[in-house]
Symmetry: C2
Subunit: 397 residues, 2 copies
């Protein structure tokens, strides 16, 4: 089994990209990643595309072959990976396995989604395709609905408060406003949310106890990265290589109702345990993390399930500023899904791209975690039914 490194990364600004097709976005992000790696004449052996909705939203299949052709990477092997909102993380994982196996040397992974083609109930309907088709969606449950119920239970069991959730939203939108790739450019304040006469209008309840600002936006976007064996990195690129030190992936029951304790995100715990074990690291060794905050509550819950904080302590850590830039463990310095946006197939790739920038120490001062050596990502599919976790490590040359 070979060690695998990320040697090139690229992203396009998330948001509304009405002028671009899905294929345009995947191609732009891929070209940026290839350009960043600076491979020169060295070709790409295989391509993985992380995407959830091309069939449903674009009425298109075989998108990986189409992307290979678009990028003039023929005859590279190619396939698309569908794994709900964890499609991006799954695509990265399969790219890592492909290189680790020794079959392929240079692998491109691109994740993308064009979601703004549908809005309102159609967007909610698209997302709900990831629920159980017989016992969940037909009874009216949607992802925001699940998140609302999860939040209520988390509040009852662990003392989570609305104030903690609001603080996550404020933190992530503040960072998003600094990130040129983020969808949401607007900063919000506690005063604005609580004391404005328009607060109920501006931030109305969405799925009680979650409000509008607790949810990520519906975004278009794409991100890409280039993988190769660590031993080849120095020959192929001038970038500081970032080692995929470990990864983990686990599934949980497809329906929330079948879980013994619905507040227990078992797949997050297991995926993180696997990743830490392979990386031979512990939660306290992580310097920066990108968690899957499709809803504010998930950032807090995941920060506890991966082992950064004890159960019930994650929300307090947010209030104490521990997860801000400059805090003990900055989380979602990119703005997270909450502000960078959540084009589902892109997210898992974008998270790794953001951590790579952190570990290469290439971000401007107002977004760089000083001297970050190890980073972690959590990409959360369904309502935690399929979770992919990566641990990345800067390789000093």
């Amino acid at each position: 089994m070979r060690d695998v490194a990320v040697i090139g990364v690229g992203m396009i600004p998330f948001g509304r990209r009405d002028q671009d097709t899905l294929m345009d976005m995947l191609a732009y992000a891929s070209m940026k990643a290839l350009d960043d790696a600076g491979l020169g004449d060295k070709g790409v052996d295989a391509l993985y595309v992380g995407n959830m909705g091309a069939g449903i939203l674009q009425h298109q299949s075989s998108i990986a072959s189409a992307l290979v052709d678009r990028l003039s990477l023929l005859p590279a092997a190619a396939e698309a990976i569908e794994n709900g909102p964890a499609s991006g993380g799954s695509a990265v994982k399969n790219g890592v396995l492909a290189v680790a196996s020794g079959y392929y040397d240079v692998v491109l992974v691109a994740g993308g989604e064009k979601m703004r083609e549908v809005t309102g109930w159609r967007a909610t309907d698209f997302v709900a395709t990831m629920t159980h088709p017989e016992v969940e969606y037909p009874y009216g449950i949607t992802l925001p609905g699940m998140a609302g119920m999860f939040t209520r239970l988390y509040m009852e069991k662990y003392g989570l408060t609305r104030e903690m959730l609001v603080e996550v939203a404020i933190k992530n939108q503040k960072m998003g406003a600094l990130n040129p790739y983020a969808h949401v450019e607007m900063m919000i304040t506690k005063e604005g949310i609580y004391e404005s006469p328009h607060s109920v209008v501006n931030n109305p309840p969405a799925a009680d106890p979650l409000h509008l600002y607790d949810a990520c936006p519906v975004s278009d976007g794409a991100a890409a990265l280039v993988l190769c064996p660590l031993e080849m990195a120095a020959k192929l690129t001038k970038n500081v290589p970032v080692l995929v030190a470990g990864f983990g992936q686990a599934t949980d029951t497809h329906t929330l109702q079948e879980r013994d304790d619905p507040t227990d995100l078992k797949a997050v715990t297991l995926a993180a345990q696997q990743a830490f074990e392979r990386a031979k690291l512990k939660p306290e060794d992580i310097h920066v993390a990108e968690l899957h905050d499709a809803f504010t509550v998930l950032e807090i819950a995941e920060s506890e399930h991966v082992g950064f904080f004890k159960k019930g302590e994650g929300g307090k850590a947010v209030l104490a500023g521990k997860t801000r830039l400059g805090g003990k463990l900055p989380i979602n310095v990119s703005g997270g899904l909450k502000a960078r946006g959540h084009p589902v197939g892109a997210t898992g790739v974008a998270q790794v791209v953001d951590i790579v920038w952190q570990l290469r120490h290439e971000l401007p001062e107002d977004r760089q975690v000083k001297n970050a050596q190890n980073g972690l990502t959590v990409n959360f599919g369904g309502f935690g039914n399929n979770v992919v976790c990566f641990i990345l490590r800067r390789v000093e040359q």
Copy 2:
């Protein structure tokens, strides 16, 4: 890189399966494969699902997680692979890489499609989602249309005749009639096709020069297999292990019109070359093959492009009986896509399953290639824009 073996296989009868959901079919085939492997208490580490149309046809995503739960294989890692009609082959490939890498020991691969939910133009429309969304489908080209034009060019360049195509249809429907898993149970004869007063009615032109009997049916179906490191096979199963001796995968231009010579299926040639190189075998070492005869012409063209026959000789070989059971190189003894059926995501997996049965010498006499040691499959995506080829070898114990 570890050697990988197929230690369990399963399939359900292809055809109209109105009573089953996609998830039912994937689960049934998976349970058969797991039962065949006889793993006992040993769990499954990861699951790959080959599927093209769950989003479009079933309005469903995250099907791999759903299948893990349905099969009680939690917390196995899982993702779905979309690669058009090569989705099944791609899923097997990624399962092989996952085991070869050393990350996972026991991997389940299931391929399935429920296509009969749509018929007529909607079925053609579904298949056309694999074409180029801007320069092909909007101008009216469909897959049968492409196959018709390809056939005309092949006739002009290589002397292919309608008689050769009919012979493929007769051969494959004859074998399909013997195969309990095949969709098409009806045998056809040359006399019936050419001399019946109803021949034009029974076998009307579909996409000139192709007629109805030149095309595979629209089928529901699923197939599955279990992979593990060859070195563990003896401990895990009583079955004769079948080694994945080699595989290859290559892409070609997404649009047919961009190819220098549209009769040259470059991706088939390249994928086969890669597979033979890895397997350290030559075309003459293969004893049985499953080729992707979505149209009769493709069986002949692929048999030439993988190197079994010279260009222009494949059709003659069919007429001479060389590709029949009992001939020098039996092709599509299962009945092929033409008769077994072509539930797109299932096909690439089903091909490997059929070859495994051949190499384990488990088929009844009227379908068994005597003493077959090496087999080959070609899974053909789009119109040859993404091709996956496997070479399998019986491992004597």
